[in-house]
Amino acid sequence: MDDFLRNFISKKWNVKGLTFTFLDILLAVCITGTGLALRSTVIAYTPTDIRKIVAIVLELALAVLCGAIVHSDTGSRLRSFLTYAVLVIYPTVIANGSLWNINCIYYVILFFLGLYLYGRGNQILGGVSILAGLVIAIYRMRSWWMALNVAYPVSLSRGWPNFYEIIGKKAFVELYDKVALLILMGMLLTGVYWFAEKKIKVTKDLALTVFLFLAILIPYFAPYMPAWAGYTADVAALLYFMKRPERFYVPMLHLIVSYSAYAYAINGETKLPMVVFSILLLFMLVIVGLDVYHGGKQDGEETVRSEHRGGSSGRLPEETE
């Protein structure tokens, strides 16, 4: 009987090309149940409406989508399942939807859909999806600023521990909000110029690193960022860890920063000063920035080498082969 059960739980099933074991199904069912149970404990904090219910469904869909991205990036079934499992019980995801009813998922899922489509070679549709997500994100954040104008009449940060937490968020608010956007534009343009000059092709490998970098960079310098501005980076950091286990501390630290921002916004206090979290974010920004630099440099060199070999511009060796 024991052997039967042992064999049963690890026996591989194949349904229409999809291979799975009983353990996989068990984990999927149990973790989904745990995720729902987790949500049920905090769901009463804010009114539960149709938007919240749809958001919870979308959160599960995001977990599946991210599992698919990890599978497509790493080819590992285990990592893919783990991604799904972790995301279903991810604290900031649950707090954002079920607890706080902010429901960032409506636009965040579009970002990750874009990333997935980009990875599958459908760059136009991927770009459109990310763009649509951006439009919704800007609209949502703007509405939030307006709503919080009473609580934070003069502050460059609306809860996210970013750069302004270090230099002071209450000075020159109505000037720095515009200056910050120009600086951000300058930084992004510099990045684009660097990529274009070095003829770096944003491969599937590099795309996730760049995605995470931007997800940390933009809320770090953009003004009036709400406490939930790190949602996208939270999820992206997890995918990054699945791809690069040596960067285990990035999702760990980002989640702590992000949840502390939630705690500060909801409870009005955290045990550590918010500036500590700003420094942590800066540290992560540098680490991921270095990964972009090294990844880009490598890709750039590969591109140049392939050009020298007579390959067409911008194509990587594996594609040429």
Binding site: I167, K170, I183
Partner: protein, 401 residues
């Protein structure tokens, strides 16, 4: 158009990047031009008003404690048919762009990379301490920094006479140019600069005060203008610059530590110069920047009465250092963060809140940078490949001794 670009080794993408970054830089400065700071209200505005009223004879008075060269610039601004603050900030903002172009050219020269040169131009324009200095605070540090950049450019071109001319010009505008003076002594020891080139410093200074002397201000007063400047703002050992006094306490032994701190840094500089002059070294461009950056951080770390803006030389040198050696990318990142935090400490916290991170923490961060760049110099000097044989004459003298 194409031939114009080709002649300069540029393509359309470079031009596009340069144009957009220029517009972004301009946009930032246009937004900030409206800020009126205490320095404007207490110094530049009344000075310009007095110049308008008194004309050339203003130079004879002791109402200004900056060098006369700066007053000549204010005199020009007073003659412009525009709002004095717009004229003042506008001039310094133009210099921001000039300095960015010089930096870009310098980086291109030392790295041979067109991309790095162009990126330096673009990034310089969005560096917070640069736009905050000229467009927000209405300060004039960009003048002497532009001359310092020219000094470095010509040092890299191996034209020491011209380099020292521009160093002299920087000195004519600001005493802070002396922070990096010791590195010029090391260059002299290593035959990169001659003694006669140093003459530019007193000559240019003397020439710059002649008009004010003719106007009627006593010569000794003009010569001692920097001394008089140093005697002001003595109410704290550190005026919000994160240095040693932010660690040991900046409100005690005000008189005693003011003198002691000056002697201490002089002693430290002597010891360092003594140690560095023991051998001859291969002087590379990177070594020049390393040394200059080291002294630009070291001197204000020990000197008393340092202001919030006194990290500006180190800010620029840190950018050059990182562009020459990408592994040192964190130098400008940290240095500019420290520096900008000090700016904001003055601009936003004066008389109200304390900064989020206490100055003492930033002082330790600055010390960390000092140690790191010091170690870079140490490793460079320890490497036998970088050591040159001594002059036979000196060796003989040493042996005889």
């Amino acid at each position: 158009m194409n031939s114009f670009l080709k002649k300069r080794g540029l393509d359309r993408m470079d031009l596009c990047y340069l144009a957009v970054m220029t517009l972004i830089g301009l946009g930032i400065r246009v937004i900030l031009r409206v800020v009126i700071t205490d320095d404007w209200l207490m110094y530049w505005d009344p000075w310009i008003s007095d110049i308008k009223e008194m004309g050339f004879s203003y130079l004879a008075t002791d109402r200004y404690d900056y060098t006369p060269t700066f007053i000549y610039i204010l005199w020009i601004i007073s003659k412009l048919p525009i709002n004095p603050m717009t004229g003042y900030k506008g001039l310094h903002c133009i210099l921001d762009f000039v300095a960015a172009a010089i930096l870009g050219k310098t980086i291109y020269k030392v790295t041979g990379s067109k991309r790095k040169g162009i990126l330096s131009y673009g990034l310089f324009l969005i560096v917070p301490t640069i736009w905050a200095n000229s467009a927000l605070w209405a300060q004039c540090d960009i003048i002497f920094m532009t001359f310092l950049l020219l000094c470095f450019y010509y040092l890299f071109e191996d034209r020491p006479c011209l380099a020292m001319f521009f160093y002299g010009m920087a000195f004519v505008f600001k005493l802070q140019s002396l922070f990096i003076f010791p590195f010029l002594v090391i260059l002299w020891v290593n035959k990169k600069v001659d003694l006669k080139h140093f003459l530019w410093i007193p000559v240019l200074y003397f020439l710059s005060i002649v008009p004010a002397w003719i106007a009627g201000r006593p010569l000794m007063e003009l010569i001692n203008i920097y001394m008089a400047q140093g005697a002001q703002d003595v109410w704290s050992l550190s005026i919000k610059w994160p240095n040693i006094y932010q660690i040991i306490g900046n409100q005690f032994f005000l008189l005693e530590y003011a003198s002691a701190g000056t002697w201490l840094i002089l002693g430290i500089l002597m010891i360092i110069l003594f140690a560095m002059a023991q051998k001859r070294y291969r002087i590379t461009n990177e070594f020049i920047v390393q040394m200059a950056l080291f002294f630009a951080i070291l001197t204000p770390w020990f000197l008393p009465h340092m202001h919030e803006r006194y990290g500006c030389v180190a800010d620029i040198l840190a950018i050059i250092y990182a562009m020459m050696n990408v592994k040192k990318f964190y130098f400008p990142l940290v240095q500019i963060l420290v520096s900008f935090n000090s700016y904001m400490a003055y601009l936003s916290h004066l008389g109200s809140d304390e900064p989020t991170i206490y100055y003492g923490v930033w002082a330790f961060v600055e010390l960390g940078l000092l140690v790191l760049v010091g170690l870079d110099i140490w490793h460079y000097m320890r490497n036998p490949e970088n050591q040159l044989p001594m002059d036979p004459g000196i060796v003989k003298k040493k042996e005889a001794a």
